[in-house]
Symmetry: C2
Amino acid sequence: MHGHYDAAPQPEPAALAPATVQRMPQYLRALGDLENQGARTVSSEVLADLIGVNSSMVRKDLSLLGFTGTRGRGYPVATLASQLEEALGLTQSRSIAIVGIGHLGTALANHPGFITRSFSIGGLFDVNPAVVGTTVAGSRVRHFEDLESVVQGALPDIGVVATPPNAAQYVIDRLVTVGVRSILCFASTTVQVPPQVNLRSVDLSHELQILAFYNRSFKAGS
Amino acid sequence: MHGHYDAAPQPEPAALAPATVQRMPQYLRALGDLENQGARTVSSEVLADLIGVNSSMVRKDLSLLGFTGTRGRGYPVATLASQLEEALGLTQSRSIAIVGIGHLGTALANHPGFITRSFSIGGLFDVNPAVVGTTVAGSRVRHFEDLESVVQGALPDIGVVATPPNAAQYVIDRLVTVGVRSILCFASTTVQVPPQVNLRSVDLSHELQILAFYNRSFKAGS
DNA sequence: TAGATTGTTAATCGATTAACAATC
DNA sequence: TAGATTGTTAATCGATTAACAATC
């Protein structure tokens, strides 16, 4: 079982805590805002206030990522932003296939954050004959049943699902079958993926419901 | 300080943990799916699998909410769904003002989850002359500078911000000034609100960035 | 009854915060 | 130097899970 040429056990860099990963895009966005305002350095306290956390957490996160500041002075804004982009993997370019070019799919295809140095459109798909063949955000919408031939040789890195709920699981299964390993699903339904696939599910109405919850007392008149 | 007629110290029902509140819309959505499939009862284990958590957590959440099942049998799907709606405050009706009727604002105004028994459009606003005056999702788009007169006497319960980043803080300040107490912001920028205001911020590109992070190794070729 | 599944407690795990010596 | 702020440790807090008696 154990041959001579087995790779040496990798000293795996300890995986980042999920909570830290979730904050990385927030740090990056805040640093962009600071750069626009002309800030050269920022303290953990200011950065913490911007994203609504404790300054200890900022220092801990950045330290865990291997980023350093200067005592008495803070962190260098531009450097830190580059390091975060690198750590997030945004220096690599990813292609995105969007399935379901209704209002939401169209909004996503035109969304500034969806078309950046890091992300580009690698395919738009729908099944509605009125939509297939039209051009959205500079790309022609293809029929989803042509998925295989369209993505052949240029597998999208990320599949975005913006279909009605009842189509979502089918679409996801097809995407997984052609080899997509990361999926972002906006459909309001429960979906399943095999363990090797990364799924993130966003339900826009959930945020509304959570706000409604924290609001109950006002309306209740208490 | 302590008069005879002071209200008796309220035996405040222990506040729900934020983590539990976040899961409530997920339970509700899964129960809807189960109802559509004709299920009458569901075990904590099945419900847990649907939303990707441990069955202990489901039982604990539901127990904390005061909802009960039947040993050996599970929880009643329809009853549980109604109880969750009640607990979330979805039996009250909320009006929503959407500011920024671009692609995203239009998508939100037409989003099924944004127009339900619980939520209705209480105003659409933009500043673009090409958009102001048009009808979107059945409502006429008004100029944001007319906010005060438009919402007079019918204060929206929730303000949704779908403007470009550089307008977001201004829009939020205006919404807060007219009295809006809950805000859902989709603009990709850091924003601040006074403590009495409930703010939730959603950046669609953050989810993409997090997927990119967990994907690094694939592209890196490792 | 036997099997399934709840409701709850105690144990564990992970995330956050306070505190402060180090040092720019 | 004096003041500011990092980097890190230990303490705390909150969330999750395992386990199991209760009971349908």
